[in-house]
């Protein structure tokens, strides 16, 4: 494996263990960064150590001890450190044997980062930084905020965790469902952020996080279902754009779909279903799976959207149900559902509505709705697609062949 890949892979694991030892994310992060820098210098020269994780943790731990000594404070932070400060740092080799049994504390870390006492945007940024190993620069770029803003957001969150005593722990059983839902929401939010733009590959980051969670919580159906959902969506990535334009699902070149990823997603979906769960991610993953079949089973899709709408009370889910209903009972039936929704701020509401209006032969209204969608569109491929549709529904231009969209 290339060094970069090793680092990416190890960062969350190493950092989590250090936070467990040091009790402070900021200190752990500085120490980990130093250890990775030393590794980047030494490994190419001396070869990769037998246990890279252990080497990195031990080295980082030693750096943290140095750091604490330099500051001459916080010496009693943990017993372990207090002892080490007296005896001095260990050479990385000395702790090699321990390395195999170093507990994986990434779950503790992710529950800390996604604690509800932190603002959602801070949870997202912190999760990408600590578990994903993204730099502050990369995160700022991904969310289109200035570096300073993102840096402040991260620092503030880390200080709050430290000062307010946000626990570094997996929540007890009675809190776990709510807290896990918060973690999954953060991962899925990162994934969805990654769909629109082409900046940092946040969808890949989210899948990476989803895989780690599925490894750490292999019996939680919603964890498996979320990973399945992301894989099934992401499998169509290559087919989703053509000539810089969004391609509706029915027009996509299926040869471009990632079959291996679809298989993996489906296998995860089956595992989640075997646990008799009907959580919202399972329902969404099942819908994503149905969308990959040709022809699509719109009745079943509509039923699942209804289940999901009951669970989530989300207007966006209702909007998606309207699309399925339009396929079964015609565009006017779908439009009747859309008319009950209050989603004027949501760009896909207008493009969805425009599509159904177009199919219902109400071109004038469709044109206005495409115009509104275009005003709200955030990415160029979306804009190009909508401009095309806008032109097609301009009264003086003859209509193109009928197409469906998702």
């Amino acid at each position: 494996m290339a060094l970069d890949a090793v680092f990416r892979d190890q960062w969350g694991r190493v950092l989590a263990t250090l936070v467990g030892i040091l009790g402070d994310i900021e200190l752990a992060e500085e120490a980990a960064a130093e250890a990775f820098a030393i590794a980047a210098e030494r490994w190419p020269r001396d070869g990769e150590p037998a246990n890279p994780t252990g080497w990195l943790i031990t080295t980082a731990r030693n750096r943290a001890i140095d750091q604490l000594r330099r500051r001459q404070v916080l010496a009693d932070k943990t017993k372990l450190l207090a002892r080490d400060i007296e005896t001095g740092p260990q050479p990385p080799e000395a702790l090699m044997d321990d390395a195999a049994t170093i507990p994986d504390e990434r779950l503790e870390l992710i529950f800390t980062c996604c604690h509800p006492a932190l603002a959602l945007e801070a949870q997202v940024a912190l999760t990408l930084r600590t578990l994903g190993g993204l730099s502050t620069d990369e995160i700022a770029l991904a969310f289109l905020v200035p570096f300073e803003t993102m840096s402040k957001r991260l620092t503030r969150a880390k200080h709050k965790i430290r000062d307010a005593g946000i626990p570094f722990a997996v929540p007890p059983d009675h809190q776990l469902p709510d807290r896990l839902a918060a973690v999954l929401a953060v991962v899925y939010l990162i994934f969805n952020q990654g769909w629109g733009g082409g900046r940092v590959d946040l969808a890949a980051e989210a899948i990476h996080l989803g895989r780690a969670l599925a490894d750490l919580m292999p019996d939680e159906p919603e964890v498996l279902a979320l990973l399945a959902l992301m894989l099934l969506h992401d499998a169509r990535k290559a087919a989703r754009l053509r000539d810089g334009r969004i391609v509706p699902l029915d027009d996509q070149d299926r040869a471009l779909w990632d079959e291996r990823q679809i298989d993996e997603g489906r296998a995860l979906l089956r595992r989640a279903m075997a646990r008799r769960s009907t959580g919202p991610y399972l329902v969404q993953a099942a819908i994503a799976d149905l969308h990959l079949h040709q022809p699509r089973d719109w009745r079943q899709i509509a039923v699942l959207y209804q289940t999901l709408a009951r669970q989530t009370r989300s207007s966006i889910v209702e909007m998606n149900r309207a699309v399925a209903v339009a396929e079964i009972d015609g565009p006017e039936a779908g439009l009747a559902i859309l008319d009950r929704l209050d989603l004027d701020h949501y760009r896909y509401f207008h493009s969805t509505r425009a599509e159904l209006l177009r199919r219902a032969g109400r071109d004038g209204e469709a044109h206005d709705a495409y115009r509104r969608a275009l005003d709200l569109a955030q990415t160029e491929p979306e804009q190009r697609f909508l401009q095309e549709r806008l032109a097609e529904t301009t009264p003086s231009v003859p209509r193109g062949p009928d197409r469906t969209t998702t």
């Binding site: 604690h115 006492a117 932190l118 603002a119 503030r156 000062d163 307010a164 946000i166 626990p167 929540p171």
Partner: protein, 114 residues
């Protein structure tokens, strides 16, 4: 009579935790009429609990709504923020609707009682 003195600091002074209490102030805190005191972390460390029709809502940050006034003060001890939030939540259940409790960690303090 008993009084509560509420101290406000400039927003820039968020690093108080790393600095000691100024010597002259520390001496005043030891005087007999001071029955207790607590030095709080900056409001960036705050979490606010709202009781919205029986449901407890958490927000990150201090309580900011000028319609309400500061009505009371509890000093509690808990293992971590989760413990403190649980205690605050139980208290909030019994308060009037529209009440909020801001949970703020204490840097250091002393309480002798009146």
């Amino acid at each position: 009579m008993q009084y509560a003195l509420l101290a406000y600091a400039s927003a820039e002074e968020s690093d108080r935790a790393t600095r000691p209490i100024p010597g002259a102030l520390a001496a005043q805190l030891d005087r007999p009429h001071v029955t207790g005191w607590a030095r709080l972390h900056a409001d960036e460390s705050a979490t606010t609990l709202h009781n919205e029709e029986g449901q407890m809502l958490l927000t990150d940050g201090p309580f900011i709504d000028s319609k309400e006034y500061l009505a009371g003060l509890f000093l509690i001890e808990a293992d971590n923020l989760d413990g403190a939030l649980a205690i605050a939540g139980e208290m909030l259940q019994e308060t009037r609707p529209g009440t909020a409790i801001e949970v703020r960690p204490i840097i250091d303090g002393r309480f002798r009682g009146a």
